[in-house]
Subunit: 335 residues, 2 copies
């Protein structure tokens, strides 16, 4: 089915006006008599020439398209995020042009695509962003918001969970239950989320004179499983493991089960995110719940305010979230 090339020229023929008259009808501010306008609009409607969203976008620079960039969609946390963003943006009349990237950082090519499609704003979830990219988008007046990440140099808006203070509170919680040997399994080490969770956790414990062991992971089930298989075979194994996210924690739990280590009696585990699997009975994972809905609402409001012209300095919004106690942490008796 070859697409019909319905364009201004055909509309002009049918309305018996010049092609430039048709252009004027669809250009705000251009002069055209009401009678001519009516004739052109009727002709356009008759043959299916639609002054559609893209046409309006060209004329007004409003496409109602938001670019959403996501990397690790295999981590169940992110499909849940995508779901919420798409729904909330749709309710506000916006659509998501979805970019999936295997790269750690946004590329120039992706930036070109944002410009090509005239997106009104960009939301970036779990991908790094150079100040170069931020400034290029800013030159074109395309606001960008980091979700669940921030840049060290604070060149753009961001919405995050307060990972540092969550890490502290998790350290405090495990310490108060009487644990003594702590391990943190990181996510990808170049991410602000993993680093901040580690920093808060380690700083609290250091205040108590305890130095946690840091093991490198990469936010995957496989990493949690592999690290745990190695670490838990040591005589001097940890009695509490804090994992950079839930999916890592599930890998640790499964490794512990295979090694015959009882959770929580012999080993306590805490995750981060509260993905749906965390509540499945065989895991019943104690975890930090990010207030995802509020974070997404704030991101969208921030973005749309910026799109609508409120010039503001880069803002960083932090949300607390809360510890969700399930059954993967051994509690002090009589506490």
């Amino acid at each position: 089915m070859k697409k019909k090339q319905i364009n201004a020229i055909e509309v002009a023929k049918l309305a018996n006006v010049s092609q430039s008259t048709v252009s004027r009808v669809f250009t705000p501010g251009a002069k055209v008599s009401p009678r001519t306008q009516k004739r052109v609009l009727e002709a356009a409607q008759k043959i299916g020439y639609r002054p559609n969203a893209l046409a309006r976008g060209l004329i007004t620079n409003k496409t109602n398209i938001i670019g959403l960039v996501m990397g690790n969609i295999q981590n169940p946390f992110y499909p849940e995020i995508l779901d919420e963003f798409t729904k909330s943006l749709y309710e506000k009349g916006y659509h998501v042009l979805f970019f999936h990237t295997k790269n750690d950082a946004i590329t120039q090519d992706e930036v070109s695509q944002f410009l090509e499609y005239n997106v009104e704003g960009v939301i970036v979830t779990d991908v790094l962003l150079s100040s170069n990219v931020v400034s290029k988008l800013s030159t074109h007046d395309i606001p960008i918001i980091l979700f669940n990440r921030y840049t060290q140099d604070s060149t753009c808006h961001s919405v995050c969970c307060d990972n540092y203070s969550a890490g502290m509170k998790i350290g405090e919680y495990l310490f108060k239950q009487g644990h003594q040997k702590f391990t943190y399994i990181t996510g990808r080490t170049n991410t602000s989320t993993s680093r901040d969770r580690e920093r808060g956790f380690a700083e609290f414990l250091l205040q108590k004179g305890i130095k946690p062991v840091i093991e490198e992971g990469d936010y995957t089930y496989e990493a949690g499983y592999t690290v745990a298989m190695r670490v838990l075979k040591n005589r001097n194994r940890p009695d509490a493991i804090f994992c950079a996210n839930d999916i890592v924690a599930l890998g640790v739990i499964d490794a512990a089960k295979i090694l015959g280590i009882s959770i929580p009696n012999e080993l306590s585990i805490v995750g981060f995110d509260d993905i749906s699997m965390a509540s499945w009975p065989p895991y019943s994972l104690t975890t930090w719940q990010q207030p995802v809905k509020e974070m997404i609402e704030a991101t969208i409001n921030m973005l749309l305010n910026t799109v609508d012209g409120e010039a503001t300095k880069p803002q960083s919004l932090l949300f607390s979230g809360k510890l969700l106690e399930r059954k993967s942490v051994k509690l002090l008796k009589n506490s």
Copy 2:
């Protein structure tokens, strides 16, 4: 940051031509002298008036945007699909306008959005499609392909796994291992995927004089868990359960563990999809692997051929896939 309203009028001022001349420069087939064209293009470049993807889309009807509609993104099978589609389409120069719908079927509102954004084609994964919607899109020459679903009346192209014959082969496989009491846990019963898997499974077993028990599920972990908790407490419980998808099967495995029923010694379980969790050690689920990459490649080729003008009758492509044996099925000794 208020977006600068860079439009044809400003370009016209700078190039010292009329606004209709600017329009002509950006309209293929319209008359304009090479010298004027050069002046207009230079002015456009200078002030940042970009004849971008949307502009080209208006002129040529080619936006390179494909609408992708997805429902149950919480089932890990679908993020993997979204990932593949986005990547493959991007390699071919197309972008994904992502539609997430909580509805069972595509609504008129969503169809309006496809038209508004001038998408070149629509891919629909796990959502129902009325012939009404198909015919409306067809009127506007927007091809649509169903992925992992088909319509009873074959009004549009579809790409599916051959669920019926996969169901048969799973029935045969379980029967050959000596199982005698079979249960099928359905997905949402209004989906062709669940119905065809059931039909193949039941037809094979009926040939052997066995009538499987059908239990209703809805493609979720919770449904598998709940159904298994009820069914496995019966004295006359099944010795083999085929689940409409993997996530249901994981729920069944977890319920069996809690009830102290050993898998595979006392109960065999087969899933469908081969999501990444199926290979996790505590599950090690035997399942039917859909050839996802080939199916996606075929979907995109079919769509782009149609976009490029090859008029064809609705086609249904079926892919076989294969049984992936792990450790959730008890095998006949000495076989």
